[in-house]
Symmetry: C2
Subunit: 405 residues, 2 copies
Amino acid sequence: MVKIGIIGFGVVGSGVYEVIRKNKESIARKSGDEIDIKYILDIRDFSSHEESHLFVNNFDRMVADDEISIIVETMGGLDPAYEYTKRALSCGKSVVTSNKELVATYGDELLKIAYDNGCSYLFEASVGGGIPIIRPLNQCLAANEIGGITGILNGTTNYILTQMIKDGQSFEEALKDAQDLGYAERNPSADVDGHDACRKICILTSLATGKKIEYKKVYTEGITNITLRNVEYAGKLGYVIKLIGMSRVCDSGKVNVMVAPMMILKEHPLASVEGVNNAIMVDGNAIGSAMFYGPGAGKLPTASAVVADVIDIAKNRGSENRLLWVKADGEVIIPQDESQFKYFVRVGAPYAEAKAQIREVFGECTCIDLYEDEFGFVTNEIAEGDLKAKFASLSYKVIDFTRIL
Amino acid sequence: MVKIGIIGFGVVGSGVYEVIRKNKESIARKSGDEIDIKYILDIRDFSSHEESHLFVNNFDRMVADDEISIIVETMGGLDPAYEYTKRALSCGKSVVTSNKELVATYGDELLKIAYDNGCSYLFEASVGGGIPIIRPLNQCLAANEIGGITGILNGTTNYILTQMIKDGQSFEEALKDAQDLGYAERNPSADVDGHDACRKICILTSLATGKKIEYKKVYTEGITNITLRNVEYAGKLGYVIKLIGMSRVCDSGKVNVMVAPMMILKEHPLASVEGVNNAIMVDGNAIGSAMFYGPGAGKLPTASAVVADVIDIAKNRGSENRLLWVKADGEVIIPQDESQFKYFVRVGAPYAEAKAQIREVFGECTCIDLYEDEFGFVTNEIAEGDLKAKFASLSYKVIDFTRIL
C-alpha cells in the first residue's frame, strides 16, 4: 500500500482524488500496489465531503507521517507550494506536481533536493495538461539530440484564436466567450499575455538542454494585439495564426527561445490544433519530428498526468531521479535580435504609394493589398535586429509584424 | 559500461549502430552509463565495414558472453528471431526489438520468459516507428482506463492514399510511386492488404487490455479496392479515406478490433496525417483523447525508439518488467458482424431508379449522385450484420461500403 497526501484540493487536486477512486483497480494493477489517499490538505471547509475525514489543515502532520511516501502538490503558485515542496523532498518524500510556475522558477533547486534525498520530483502535468510530453521527451526520445521544440502550449489563447479564425469573432468577443465558458480567468493576463506558455516552453527547453532557462529572460509576446485583419492576411496567404512557444538549439549551443503569435502554414500539423487543445512538436536528430496532441488543461486530463507520475514513483521508477537541469554558468539564451525568421509586415500606407520603397529596402517580395490604408508583405529570412533596422529606414509606418514559422 | 549485441544489421539494425555512435555522449549522460556495441550478428559479409571487428556470424558466442546484458533484435520475421529471443531472455539478457510480427505472435510467451528470468522484453519500435506510443500507453496513461485506440499505423498505405487524395493518382500509380521511392516493397501485400497495420493494432490493444489479441482473428481489410471514385465521394461529403487500425472496448469487456479503410471527417486530427507519417489516437477515461504523431518508419526514427528502450534498460528502468498481456481464457474479440458504424454505401444503379428502395430499406438518408451508373448514401449507425442483411434484401447491387469513423 502506497499512501499519499494531496495538498491543494482545487480543480486538479479534486481531479486526482476522482481518478484514483474511479480507476482504483486498474491503477493497483499497473502500480503493482494499491494507492491510497491518507490526507488532503486544504484550508477551505470540506466537512460535507464524502470523505471529510481525509481533510487536514496542517501540513506538519502530513510531512511528519512516515507512512506518507508521496505528496501531490496541486496548490499552484509559489507560496506556500515552494516551502512545502522543499520540506517534503528534504524528508525524502517524493513530490508530484502540476505547478508550472514552481517548476519553471525553482525546478533546478527542487530537483537537486530530490536527488540529494533519494526521492523524486515529477511534473508531467506542468506542461500540456494531460498530454504525455515530459516523460516522452525525457525517456522516449532519449536517443535523440533535441534540436527544437515548437508548441501550442496554452488552451485559452488557442481557443480565442480559433474563434477569431473560424467564426470571425474579435479578440474581445472571443475572450469574453472563453471567460463565460470557464476557459479564461477574469484576469486573463497570464494566458493572453503569453506568460503561461512561456513557463511551459522554459520547462521543456530546460529538460531538452539540461540547462535552466530563466523565464523572465525569455521574449514573450501575447495575442492581445492580434486583430481580424491579421487573421485575414494570414488566411489569404495560406496560414493560420497561433500562439507558439518555441525553442531552437543554435550551432553555438545557445538557444533561441520565445513565445509569440506566429503564422503557420495551414498544412502544418500544428495548424489543425483547435480550441483548448495543445500540441507539442519535438525535433530530434534521429526521429525527425514527432508531435504530441491532446487536452492542454482540464480537471481529469491534468489529473491523469499527475496520477501517472504517482504510479511511476509507486513502481520505484522515479527512483532513478536525475538532475534533469541545472543553473547554467553563462548566458544560455541568444538575444532576441539574433533570432531569424521570415516575417509578415503590415505597412500603414497605400500599396501604390509605398511599394517602391519596400522593394528598395526589402528586395523582391510577396505583397498583399486588401485595404486602402495599408498593405502587407513577406520578407526573406533575416535576423530580428536587421528587420528593425530596415523598419527604421522606411518613411512609412510599420503597423506590426508577425513571425512566420 | 553496458555492452550490447545487435542481431540483424539491416535498415533498423544499422540505424541503431548509427544513433549509438552519433549521439554517444548525450546517450551516456541520459543512461548514466556508456552504451557500447560489442557484437553485431549478420550472416552477410561486412568485412569492409569501418568496425568490421564487431561482426560475428554465430549467435551462440553472443548469448554465452556474460558481458552482454542487452540484445537488440532487428532481424524481423519469426525465424530465427523467435528462437534467439527465447534463448537470450532465458539467459536473463534483456531484449529490445522492432519486430512487430514476433511481438504480435509470441509477445505473451516472450514477456513471460522475461518476467521469469528477471529481464526485460521491450518493443517501443514495433509500433509507429519512431513515435513514442508503447511507453506513453503503458506509463503516461497508466491512470486511465483505455476505451479506444484509433490509428494510422502504416506509412506505405497512408502515402498511397495521400497521393490518391491530393494528386488524383490511381491506386496502381500511387503504389508504383511508393515502390520507386522505397516506401513499398516489391511485394506490397503486407502493407496494402492491412496485415502490417493489423499486427500493430493487436500489439496496442493487447497492451491496453492486458489480453492477447490474436491477429489472425482480427478482421483486416486493405486498400487495394479503393478507387478514385471512393476518394471523390468521400471528399464531396467532407471526409478523407484513411486505412485505420482501431479497437474499442465494449461494455461486455470484449473488444471490437479491426483494420479497414475508413472515412474520417476532414477536421479530425487524423485526417491531416499525410504521406508516410503515422498517428495514434488514444481515448482514456481521464484524459479524453491524446494523439501521438510522427514518422511511422525509416531507419533513424525506428532506431530512435530502439535505443530509447536500450537506455531504459541501462537505467534499470526496464527491470520492473511485468506481464503486460497474457493469453485470455475465453474469446476477447466480438464478431465483426456486431461491430457498429455509420457506413457510406455505393449502389450500382442510377439514383432515380433505386432511391425509393434505398429509402424503404434504410430510411431517410443523405444520398450523393455523381455518376450515371451508380450513387452513394450514408446509413445510420447499425451493426455490420444488420447492414449485410439489408443489402441482401435490395434488388440492386451494392458495389462496396466504407465505415465512417
